[in-house]
């Protein structure tokens, strides 16, 4: 392989006059050396250490900063190669010919430390953690003094004692300390015997405080249990603790490659190990220069304990609670995270991963030549299953995965494309495993992501799935999680493809409407007034014709007044007439816009004044913010127009919010009050109200719109503030120079600032209202007051242990109630950073009626709430 190719990516070779950035720049010898160092081990890591060492030594005089930077890039971007870089640095520590000189290795290490210090100062945790692993190997190779390394680890465990520490910070500090101890264990504990207990105690004390957090993010739900009960999933810090325990009892018989162990010992009479300077982990950055009002500071993502699901048994994939399993898991997660910028390279590196492990860790590919070196361990795990388990595990972390969902989906696709024959079976097994766990209380958000991934994956692989193996499950109740999964997965497949194509991929048994698997019909529009025999057909036609003829909005409004007079004669109740007119108008407009998303946008944009008039309630009087019933009518008319197409309902709602016809709070209210009115035939099935993924998607859309607007307004405000400050400074400077002020300029900018502040405050109010309305809605679903039309006894009944043990016999209503609980739980934890801002108000308003009351429903409602806002 030529070392002169800077990248292995494919596209690079393309060249044309347009793109001068891609021209080959002549590499300087230093750059060439850097690339050689970064690419260490393309073929045989152990052998190449000597070659690379030779290259380094041959380029004289050595440029230490360049060498140190090369090590930094190599270690922080390719952590799976760390043991080999440790070995390389060990080679470079060989004493120079002139004994008065400092060895090259030591010079690099001293320079390397400075870079590490910068990572810590900037709280670049990923880089920090990989450097600590590197140092740990250097301790094992006797290049760094164990005492100084122990002190370094102590400065990370010290972080865990901070008062009110965020979980994200604690987790990262704990992982740094744990990694360092795991890798350097033998040497470190013999030099500093107390260090093991110190680190263990520190991490354990911390994790004991995270139990309520674990309870709300565990992947399987047990509504009757207030303690954590997890099978088939492992929490990250718990795995680290279990691994440390196992390592200690085995005398730190580590699972790491240690190529440097084969080198002759350095002469300790002549060599002094590097003593790491002492270091302090700086406190978390609190933005001090930001606005003073607390609500204006950016809402930080809340971090929770991380559960990774297991899909295979310990002989197929490594158990992350064992030293070797933990090491593999950490490396794979690091690769997935680092190479997010290029999923294709990420997939390639994942599939090549076994070469960086101790021989025998993974089973050889069938037909591969026998290994040159003897297996040192005998785990023989399956690479493909391990990759699938790790990628899916990372994508299913609650409440949010660290990368976007679609990244993991596409990464799995790439891995499959690179190695279709070997990875195919692993994908199938993963799907079956997740599918089978659906009924065992798999969290609703995980279920949603699973169906999302399933559809995307099938879309990339010809929609080939053996659906017939799930035919027996058609016997289950219609709301059973497995049946809900099939419906949802097929609905998502249809969105990505089209109805007939997906029907073709299914066995006959799943076709008929009674099978409740496919949507009742292909996802077309349903114009209520289309049929000439239906009431108000003619009225609707007259409006429709105006739209078709591109009549002006004002003319349509005038026509609606006329129509209203006519209808008032036909229909008795005047309230109904207003509502009827809104239905006719909205549906006719959507009908015009039903051909495509663009047609919808054009229709809405052309008739914005009309829609605003409709939303304001009266037919002629315009009043700004609109009328709640009128807006609910518009939403109902839209939802019933697209009742066979849930995707379009969400799109129409989103655009109605975008064009400010309705507010997010209207959508939230509508979802809780009116969603079960869309399809009259199903209204009965939906009482009491329960939430499925469809309703959750509408809520999520509305909440994200509210939250997103606040973040735009915040950015705008910050920008204006900055400009304002700069202007003031400039004006002041000018004044100092010539005493000349331009008052009109500064007044103008302040006006912009005032407007932005006003916008920010009304958007914040809207966000608060949307959140509050959602919370109220959930509470009224799960604990309806005695006076409501639809009591929901199942919401309480399913909370007992007995009921759960009998869940195999649950009916539709039990599963509906269970899913609604699931979405409530997810709402609280997913929006917890925002809910926390209003914790006191919301607690007082929404939970006041449970004061002094103790029953399972109100207790659970409040427990989920309290944990989410960090009060338990």
């Amino acid at each position: 392989m030529s070392y002169d190719r800077p990248y292995r990516g494919g596209r690079r070779r393309y060249r044309d006059d347009y793109d001068d950035r891609r021209r080959d720049i002549v590499e300087s010898p230093q750059e060439r050396l850097k690339n050689i160092i970064i690419r260490l081990g393309e073929v045989d890591p152990v052998q190449e250490i000597f070659t690379v060492e030779k290259h380094i030594r041959e380029l004289v005089p050595p440029l230490i900063p360049n060498l140190s930077e090369s090590f930094h890039i190599s270690i922080t971007e390719q952590p799976y190669k760390i043991p080999f870089y440790a070995a390389l640095l060990r080679r470079l520590h060989e004493p120079p010919v002139n004994q008065d000189e400092t060895s090259l290795g030591k010079q690099i290490l001293e320079e390397f430390w400075k870079g590490f210090q910068t990572y810590v100062d900037k709280l670049m945790w990923r880089e920090t953690r990989h450097c600590i692993s590197f140092f740990a190997h250097l301790v094992s190779a006797q290049l760094i003094s164990a005492e100084s390394f122990a002190a370094l680890l102590q400065s990370f465990t010290a972080v865990l004692d901070e008062f009110g520490i965020s979980h994200g910070r604690a987790k990262r500090a704990a992982l740094c300390a744990a990694d360092g101890l795991m890798i350097s264990g033998t040497v470190l504990t013999s030099a500093v015997p107390t260090i093991f207990d110190e680190i263990m105690t520190s991490i354990q004390t911390y994790t004991e405080s995270t139990n309520s957090g674990k309870w709300i993010v565990q992947p399987s739900v047990r509504l009757h249990l207030s303690s954590v009960s997890v099978e088939n999933a492992d929490e990250l810090l718990d795995s680290a603790i279990n691994t440390l325990k196992a390592l200690e009892s085995s005398g730190f018989e580590g699972p790491y490659p240690r190529p440097y162990a084969d080198y002759p010992q350095l002469d300790m009479m002549l060599f002094t190990p590097y003593s790491l300077p002492s270091l302090l982990v700086p406190p978390e950055v609190i933005e001090l220069d930001g606005p003073t009002e607390t609500e204006e500071s950016d809402t930080k993502k809340e971090e929770w304990p991380e559960y990774f699901m297991r899909l295979f048994s310990d002989d197929i994939t490594p158990d992350p609670n064992t030293p070797a399993g933990y090491a593999v898991r950490s490396d794979l997660l690091a690769i997935i995270d680092i190479f997010e910028v290029n999923r294709k390279e990420s997939a390639r590196i994942l599939l090549e991963y076994p070469k960086w492990t101790v021989p025998g860790t993974f089973k050889l590919k069938p037909g591969a030549p026998p290994p040159e070196v003897e297996n040192l361990v005998n785990y023989e795990w399956q690479l493909e299953s391990t990759l699938l388990e790790t990628m899916l595990g990372a994508s299913l972390v609650l409440p949010d995965s660290s990368q976007k969902q679609i990244y993991y989906d596409s990464l799995i696709t790439e891995v499959c494309k690179l190695s279709p024959s070997t990875i195919g079976p692993a994908v199938g097994k993963s799907i079956r495993k997740l599918y089978s766990s659906l009924a065992d209380g798999l969290d609703v958000e995980i279920q949603r992501r699973f169906s999302d991934w399933f559809a995307i994956h099938m879309s990339n692989f010809n929609f080939q799935w053996v659906w017939k193996e799930w035919i027996p499950d058609l016997e289950l109740v219609v709301q059973h999680p497995r049946r809900a999964f099939m419906r949802r997965a097929l609905e998502y497949e249809i969105r990505l493809s089209y109805h007939d194509r997906i029907v073709k991929s299914l066995p006959e048994e799943m076709h008929p409407p009674e099978a409740h698997t496919l949507p009742y019909q292909s996802p077309g529009p349903d114009f209520m007034y289309d049929d000439p025999t239906k009431p108000h057909h003619d009225a609707a036609q007259s409006i429709l014709n105006l739209f078709r003829g591109r009549a002006k909005a004002e003319d349509v409004i005038t026509q609606l007044d006329t129509l209203r007079n006519t209808l008032e004669i036909e229909v008795s109740d005047s309230e109904n007439v207003n509502s009827l007119i809104r239905f006719i108008t909205t549906q006719s407009l959507l009908h015009i816009g039903s051909r495509s998303f663009s047609h919808l946008l054009n229709a809405i944009e052309r008739y914005l004044p009309l829609l605003r008039t409709l939303a304001s309630g009266g037919m002629t009087a315009s009043a700004g913010a609109g009328n709640p019933e009128a807006k609910a009518d518009i939403l109902s008319a839209s939802a019933s127009f697209w009742k066979y197409n849930s995707q379009m309902v969400a799109i129409v709602f989103d655009k109605l919010m975008q064009y400010q016809i309705v507010d997010p709070t209207d959508v939230v209210s509508w979802t809780f009050l009116h969603v079960n009115e869309i399809d009259e035939s199903e209204a009965d099935l939906k009482a009491p109200l329960s939430l499925s993924t469809f309703e959750w998607d509408l809520l999520r859309g509305a909440l994200n719109k509210a939250v997103g607007r606040v973040s735009i307004a915040r950015r705008k405000l910050a920008l204006l503030r900055k400009e304002d400050d700069e202007n003031r400074a400039r004006v002041k400077a000018n004044m100092d120079v010539d005493g000349d002020v331009k008052p009109e300029e500064s007044v103008q900018e302040n006006a912009a600032l005032t407007t932005a502040l006003k916008a920010f405050s009304s958007l914040t109010k809207e966000q608060k209202a949307a959140l509050s309305r959602t919370l109220e809605g959930f509470i009224s679903c799960l604990a309806p007051t005695t006076t409501t039309a639809h009591p929901n006894p199942k919401a309480g009944e399913i909370l007992t242990e007995d009921s759960w043990h009998n869940h195999a016999n649950w009916g539709k209503e039990e599963w509906n109630a269970w899913e609604t609980w699931g979405w409530y739980r997810h709402f609280c934890r997913a929006y917890s950073p925002y809910l926390r801002n209003y914790a006191a108000t919301f607690t007082a308003v929404s939970f006041a009626r449970f004061e002094g009351q103790s029953d399972p429903v109100s207790d659970l409602l409040q427990k989920i709430w309290n944990v989410s806002i960090g009060q338990e």
Binding site: K344, E345, K404, Y407, D409, L496, R595, F597, E605, Q647
Partner: protein, 225 residues
């Protein structure tokens, strides 16, 4: 970051061959671009399919989302001809699509995404001699998703074709033919007195938009094809 691999969200050799913007300015536009060109679509792929896939890269909680989709049409027949523009509200979303969606399948074809300078009036039409995309002029293979080479499209796709042919029959030329997609949230006037003078509800937005347009036009001179 990334010294080890080439990120997938870099601008490629894709370009609007008829743009007159100088390269430096193009690069700058691309570094903030919220618009993607999507190529190698089937003629039958709908905007809703595109919306479904590309919404997976949206960040609504950060003020993002899909602003609009502009379907590429055959100049003569006004039917989709295998490309489109997807416009987001934020640059980050466009980059995410480059990293996670470009090179994956939609409607069983591998689609490609490229950062685009931004939609301009007229760019929704194909530039090939016969009205479609240039690449379909000289294509030697049989591609059922892109009109095959004869009228022998697959049975299943005949119905889709009929729908597709109807869909854009009303597509128009000229300014205002393509929807804007909705701007950022604005304060709505609530005082009743003001509203009586029938103010155009969108005039504030209109001004900023046309101001932007003028600015762009200065840069572009004539970008019509």
């Amino acid at each position: 970051m990334s010294h080890v691999v080439q990120p997938l969200d870099q601008p490629s050799n894709y370009k609007d061959s008829q743009t007159r913007i100088d390269r430096q300015r193009q690069n700058e536009l691309l570094s903030h671009s919220t618009t993607l060109y999507i190529g190698n679509l089937s003629f039958y792929t709908t905007e809703e399919q595109i919306y479904e896939l590309f919404s997976k890269c949206a960040n609504p909680e950060d003020g993002g989302g899909i602003k609009r989709i502009i379907m590429g049409l055959d100049r003569n027949t006004r039917t989709p001809c295998g490309f489109c523009f997807v416009e987001y509200y934020t640059h980050a979303e466009a980059l995410a699509s480059m990293r996670y969606v470009s090179g994956t399948k939609l409607d069983e074809r591998i689609i490609r995404c490229d950062l685009d300078l931004g939609y301009k009036e007229g760019r929704q039409f194909g530039r090939g001699k016969s009205g479609g995309q240039v690449r379909d002029e000289h294509r030697q293979d049989y591609d059922p998703g892109r009109g095959g080479w004869g009228a022998q499209a697959q049975r299943l796709e005949v119905e889709r074709r009929r729908q597709v042919e109807e869909r854009y029959a009303d597509a128009q030329d000229g300014p205002g033919a393509v929807a804007g997609g909705g701007e950022d949230w604005k304060e709505v006037e609530t005082s009743e007195g003001k509203l009586k003078r029938e103010r155009s509800p969108d005039d504030e937005g209109e001004n900023t938009r046309s101001a932007q347009r003028t600015k762009m036009e200065e840069d572009v001179e004539a970008d019509r094809m």
